[in-house]
Amino acid sequence: MSLFGRFGKGPQDDATTDARRAEWEQALSHGSLPGFVKTRLAETMSCKRPWVSTASPAGLLAQRSHGIRPLGLVSGNCWFHYGYSWTRGHYEGWHTAIDRLRLEAALMGANAVVDITMQTKRMAGAGNEDHMDYAVLGTAVRMDALPESTNPALATVSALEFARLLESGIVPVGVAIGAHFNWFVATGYAAGMAPSYWNQELSGLSTFLTQVRRQALQELRDDGVRLGTGVLAHTQHSELYRIEPDENNPYPRFLARHIALGTAVIHDTRSRKPFGVRPVLNVRDTALLAATDNTKEVL
């Protein structure tokens, strides 16, 4: 219960709260971090404070065998209001959060951040539909296989998988994002407005949706080109809405969105080493796994 002293004096302790708030405001608006965060990062880097890692002990072992030293947790977030463009909102929200995480990692002297998880949060209640928080959290590490850098490589994969990619000559470098949305006005038959009794493709709508998806993937590619030579897109999400006619819009409209996120990598197919596949029988059957799974419902 040694922690109690550190909670301050409760709600009365306004001076500290206000000072802290001012520091956050000052720092975030200038693309920097408050002094107390910088201190924590610096002291963690110099081993004055314990290192912190999201890796399991198995990951820790592999990290040691592959020359990966955990440093600490780094994070960033951005609560974004998307007034005119959901797409830009997603793009900017994630990118701002990632930039902040990168800043923390650089201050910690990391040359990579692994196991980056992405989380969104909305505020409950009416009138809160048009804004949300984009948050990223990862483990900053020092990787012997990577050169010193003030611009750490970012990866959504764990340190183990990172090491596996490195072994095959593939270097994860960052997180690429592609997002696109568009409107489609259904003026007639093509969007399935006319009643019909035969099988037919709603070709207008399918062309539209295909275009939105392709554009998002094109943007993922464009974002990836700036970072590396490939993108392993492991998260994709799309939505299609129909909005009924009103006095300004005589026809029904459709809104489609697509978002794709992934780890950008640098690789050279010529230097790719075959690693040989050895069949292994895994005796961990699913039922047993489920029983072993230590899912902790801490909250």
């Binding site: 909670f7 409760g10 965060v37 820790l60 209001h81 701002t96 505020m123 909250l299």
Partner: protein, 274 residues
Amino acid sequence: MSDVTGDLPQHAVERLKGLRDTSRHGGIFTSDFSVNEFLMVGEAGFEPLGLVVGSCIYHTGIQYAGWAKNQEMSVLSQAMYEARELAMSRMEQEAQSLSADGVVGVRLEVKRMDWDKDILEFLAVGTAIAHSKGHPGFKGPAGKPFTSDLSGQDFWMLLQSGYRPLALVMGSCVYHVAHQSMMQSLGNLGRNVEMPLFTQAMYDARELAMERMQQEAQESGAEGVVAVQLHEGSHNWQPHVIEFFAIGTAVKPIEDAAVIPERLVPQIVIPVND
């Protein structure tokens, strides 16, 4: 073992005695280990002694936050921390009465009571284990049993990588996120902008929780913290009140060369069927 049984009720003492005394003569242990966990804990040179529990029913105090203000709800932060700590220390006390070296597979749960939203139950439960050959080098801080939420497999793995667990460390922060004023909300209409007050609240709350966990690890004399999880939730509080909760196992390198297991060279396995 009798020197630490002070506060435990008679029936608990008797249950614990039964577990420990008979465990070496074909007697009985209790555990919620899976088969794999049981085998791996044995492989690590430890044996289970018994399930140990601690719980705490806690009434959280009331605190009001300024409507338009970002601030920590320190009364709630303290409540969430103290209640977990009480449950944990009661579980530790049971483990100590068993002369256990530590507790693995600790689950820390929070339940809300139906009849009153201000009452929460905190439960800590895990399996107390002891080194089969009575090696003294595995105790946690201050000679008490170590605690860890790692599974049996992870415990074995941790020892293989040259570390031993010290303590389950945690940091909690309950935070009130400022409401936007009507003017701010109108100003945002139709615009793509960051909402700095909300961003700052999430940032600050997360930072406080992580820092507190790290601080606790430092106090236990750890070199690092593994398997850290950061949870974010709201326990039926009003929409603008959130909790960040960081939890992980503080670890320390194994000092005694005699027990350092042979180093494993991990083999990376890629499942080809998923």
